[in-house]
Symmetry: D3
Subunit: 242 residues, 6 copies
Amino acid sequence: MWKGLKECFTIVKTDPDVRCVILAGRGRIFTAGLDLKQAQSEGLVSDDKADIARIGYYHRIKVLELQDCISAIEQCDKPVIALIHSGCFGAGVDLATACDIRFCTQDAFFTVKEVDIGIAADVGTLQRLPKVVGNDSWVRDLAYTARKAGADEALKFGLVSKVFENREEGLAKSIGVASEIASKSPVAVIGTKHVLNFSRDHSVREGLEYNALWSALMHHTEDIPKAVMSFMTKKKPIFSKL
Amino acid sequence: MWKGLKECFTIVKTDPDVRCVILAGRGRIFTAGLDLKQAQSEGLVSDDKADIARIGYYHRIKVLELQDCISAIEQCDKPVIALIHSGCFGAGVDLATACDIRFCTQDAFFTVKEVDIGIAADVGTLQRLPKVVGNDSWVRDLAYTARKAGADEALKFGLVSKVFENREEGLAKSIGVASEIASKSPVAVIGTKHVLNFSRDHSVREGLEYNALWSALMHHTEDIPKAVMSFMTKKKPIFSKL
Amino acid sequence: MWKGLKECFTIVKTDPDVRCVILAGRGRIFTAGLDLKQAQSEGLVSDDKADIARIGYYHRIKVLELQDCISAIEQCDKPVIALIHSGCFGAGVDLATACDIRFCTQDAFFTVKEVDIGIAADVGTLQRLPKVVGNDSWVRDLAYTARKAGADEALKFGLVSKVFENREEGLAKSIGVASEIASKSPVAVIGTKHVLNFSRDHSVREGLEYNALWSALMHHTEDIPKAVMSFMTKKKPIFSKL
Amino acid sequence: MWKGLKECFTIVKTDPDVRCVILAGRGRIFTAGLDLKQAQSEGLVSDDKADIARIGYYHRIKVLELQDCISAIEQCDKPVIALIHSGCFGAGVDLATACDIRFCTQDAFFTVKEVDIGIAADVGTLQRLPKVVGNDSWVRDLAYTARKAGADEALKFGLVSKVFENREEGLAKSIGVASEIASKSPVAVIGTKHVLNFSRDHSVREGLEYNALWSALMHHTEDIPKAVMSFMTKKKPIFSKL
Amino acid sequence: MWKGLKECFTIVKTDPDVRCVILAGRGRIFTAGLDLKQAQSEGLVSDDKADIARIGYYHRIKVLELQDCISAIEQCDKPVIALIHSGCFGAGVDLATACDIRFCTQDAFFTVKEVDIGIAADVGTLQRLPKVVGNDSWVRDLAYTARKAGADEALKFGLVSKVFENREEGLAKSIGVASEIASKSPVAVIGTKHVLNFSRDHSVREGLEYNALWSALMHHTEDIPKAVMSFMTKKKPIFSKL
Amino acid sequence: MWKGLKECFTIVKTDPDVRCVILAGRGRIFTAGLDLKQAQSEGLVSDDKADIARIGYYHRIKVLELQDCISAIEQCDKPVIALIHSGCFGAGVDLATACDIRFCTQDAFFTVKEVDIGIAADVGTLQRLPKVVGNDSWVRDLAYTARKAGADEALKFGLVSKVFENREEGLAKSIGVASEIASKSPVAVIGTKHVLNFSRDHSVREGLEYNALWSALMHHTEDIPKAVMSFMTKKKPIFSKL
């Protein structure tokens, strides 16, 4: 499933037909997180018979690979909307925070579950959660206690930006937002995501410099005259695929 | 107007008479953002006749120049209060997020309009907005859809810190805050802004080290004994101009 | 007291018996901040008789030492819960923002008091406050005006994550949270804090890489099989001291 | 060939049988650099019919992929010795500077050829060459003029560390060095390369911190007691594969 | 003269007729460095009558302005060859290290003179000298003692890349190199300088990413087919001005 | 001895009587490096009985402490001249590269010995050696093979800047250089070292900005008028202690 996730978003990145993605769960809950049994069988939760340095060397590579699977969402340059319903445990939070927009249902709850299996979260939550949320005290409360935070709390403290009655309404509204995004210039939209991500990890000055170079390339697009024309004629523009 | 903005804040930076600035709109709306016609005439929205590498080289420099106009607000070291009323479109958000304090009126609304003209915002919004706001999901929702966000939403998600009934009340209250700031030690106030900006773009440790050096210079000020004395005598201190 | 603070958290760091700390005031207020008289006697608020470069050189070192006292809280790797009641002035905010979780009582108020003594805050507030709070406009309003912000405002804008009726309730609830944290795997908890702090100051990618190396070491712990076992048997695990 | 390069070093990274690599040319020259015809057919040297922003978006991804092929050498963690004979043009310099140790023959010459095909080198030379060489004036002389630099010049200015009579002697000596390296503890050797690379791109302090965490894991190796024992008994130790 | 320097290189940056610059002295020596009398009259070497914090605030701005004058050389994106003859004192070293290529005459000598007037060099030497030279021990020897280093020493330790008999030969050879550079694609040459400078200040990975974006724009140039064609027809290409 | 080293340079930092330090060995060789027996007794070369995560947590702290002992040389702000004679093994290279100026005797040899005890060097060599030397290929050759490099090689490749006949001559000449440094303005000298170290680890721009702030403080020194006066009167100035 990890590899599937990566493969999927690697395809999404260069598939001209895709302009926006909605990531939702189909089961009873959004996700139960890491599958402990699989993790054990793959040696992620290691026993310690052989030389620890050697085991550790390969283990580090394996963790990096798992991280890459989730980071593929961030790197696909196309907006990803996560719709979370019911339980979102452990790796689910790593997953959700790698998305761009987080909506949830009234019955959703989030739990940074990793301390409960004896580890520090290591596929993204500790890096991304504090950067997407406006209350660090709350982030640490969740991360140290592994307690559940419901939809209202998630909205209040900044983890999601909208709460819907249920999964159906959530899906309908997510599709509405996704359609809106898909109707925009894809050059503009992927540029916005790409530069937002670059700028999150750099100083304002460095973000601006990268942005200027990006513009120097991307302003050579037919989408600008199209958009401007549509703005003046009040007709909805139709943009070519990426 | 871009150049005027830069000139203005360059003067403000070293004009001892200025201690705090209020940036407010005087028209029907705060700002409609980039003037598309002027941009076209200046080649910012380029046609593609000549060698693209050469056009792009100069285009990048032009974008950097526009960015500098807005960054001048940040670099003037004196607090700037933005009072936004009614519409704040595109470049208006770049402008507002470069200010220190954002107040708005009840009828204000914000829209990261750039995707609607086929571009990724490139004069500051993508760098500063996520660093001044506590809900990244909301930031991206706005940036990808170009939808309007009203005053209450702006307050709830962290873009402004106060909402006023109308422009008059807003101005009166902004002047109140500005006067309060102007009554403080200018050495202390500009140091606070300067170090806040430095620290936003650095690790905590690097921010602290820069801060210590700043203090080693700035603690040699008459404002400290003045302030301490006033603290003890309960008399309002009067600080020299910068 | 500064040195005591540092010493205390240096001990906490390697004392296996400590798993979580609650930092609360015992007096009428949480803290009045820097003791002006002591600061003067130690030359932190300097007179200017001798060579300024030489004075400044040593002054910088002294400020760095004070900063280190507060940073010791951050570097102790064990979660620190600050419970703030009544007044929290100046250095108190530097202190509180170096903690992990901030709770306060209904009568608490916060004031970034430094501009009122003629200086820019320099022992942590300007570095940490904007990174723990979700509204930069509010942060700067506080920092430039030195005005008081009450408990509700602190909660709304992201400085604290819970407000309690009074100090007694606050202590009881803080002890509850601390006990919960102390019952978890200490390997997992200190790792979570350590990696959160590292990741705050680095790009997502760099945070992930450090995290992977951390995991490669820390997954070699008996706490994981213990935790997993307890998860399956539904019995509360008991983890060894660190 | 680019993909083959990446594949090869990806395998090398986790193949326990490989401890050190020698990269040498087998033809008349070391390498003629980028194959212009293939580049054109793959659209790397683009014509400009369609939308430039869209072309540019995919072109950037393609360049990143080529870069990754060369960076695979750096990331394989096992020392790579480049033995350069005769001509080393363009991409050959990108390749050579991604290796750890550079030896060359008396008839070798290097040319940063990219300006001669109208581009700035973009698969590593501009990043790595100045960091492996001790005379930036020389680096820029080469990069702006595309002139040839012979073996003696390369040695004098720091691009290679040894010059051999001819390819045969070079190979023999390279194999000597590689054998020496292969006889050491693989845990120690890969750690040395890994940390050298990390530290090149970070401040001394950050490099030290990462190094300390690396040691905390890697010192748990049987290679240390083995090495120490061998040191005392004066018997050559035999280390397990990685 | 400082302002003239900045103005000159700001013009050079966007003057299509300029492709390469030679910076040489016309007097008895290359430069005597900072003019102490002028510096004093402009308050750079300050007396200490008024409030030190206020003086210091403006002094810092003034130093930044002087630094900008020298950094203009680096930021003009066109290669600058410095030809140093006879004495090169203090600010002369700041100047020379901001250039791309450093040649000197047999009678040249360099002295980081600043400690001899009671200051740490502050317009570039301490930042750039160690990054252009391959022997840090030598750099510090020069910087702490202010001793003279002659042409041979400068060549041996990496400060210059060629030494000429005298100023005439130096000029002739510099013009030769400059002409060679000017005959190349200007898109390729400025890109090479621009990316070298960016990469010097970033990790290899960040340099590569910026480089890929740069290429995605700049590969859309007519200079590439021109260069490739010339390569095949063996006729010297003629590139348009930038 | 590690602790003594740290203590010594911590004292040196604020002892006004010390202006420059010479670090030389008094025994048969400069240093044999880490004392394996002591390291074992202190658990640095760990056995693996207990919980590895817990052992590793403390081990990391211990390595950081050792690193701090050596970094104290760098942080003391006063120039340190290392005079290396005969053997300089392992930790000796960490030590020497933390010094400012490296001289050696004709019989000196250097060996990055760590791989021979099964570890990657971790107290500074891997961070500092490549930044003080102008040939990265040579650095890696030494680090992977643990082979000896003699005085001439060390000079040629940039590790030392002077080679003396023997220890007596070396000492005499080192004292000469140290005396020269000690005769300069201490404000200028420590500033030079401090800013060189800061700038090594930052971009040129960041180095310049820090430098400007440093100057804004340090130019308020009596040493400048003294130095200028002496310059005009040709009389050797006498500067106050720091």
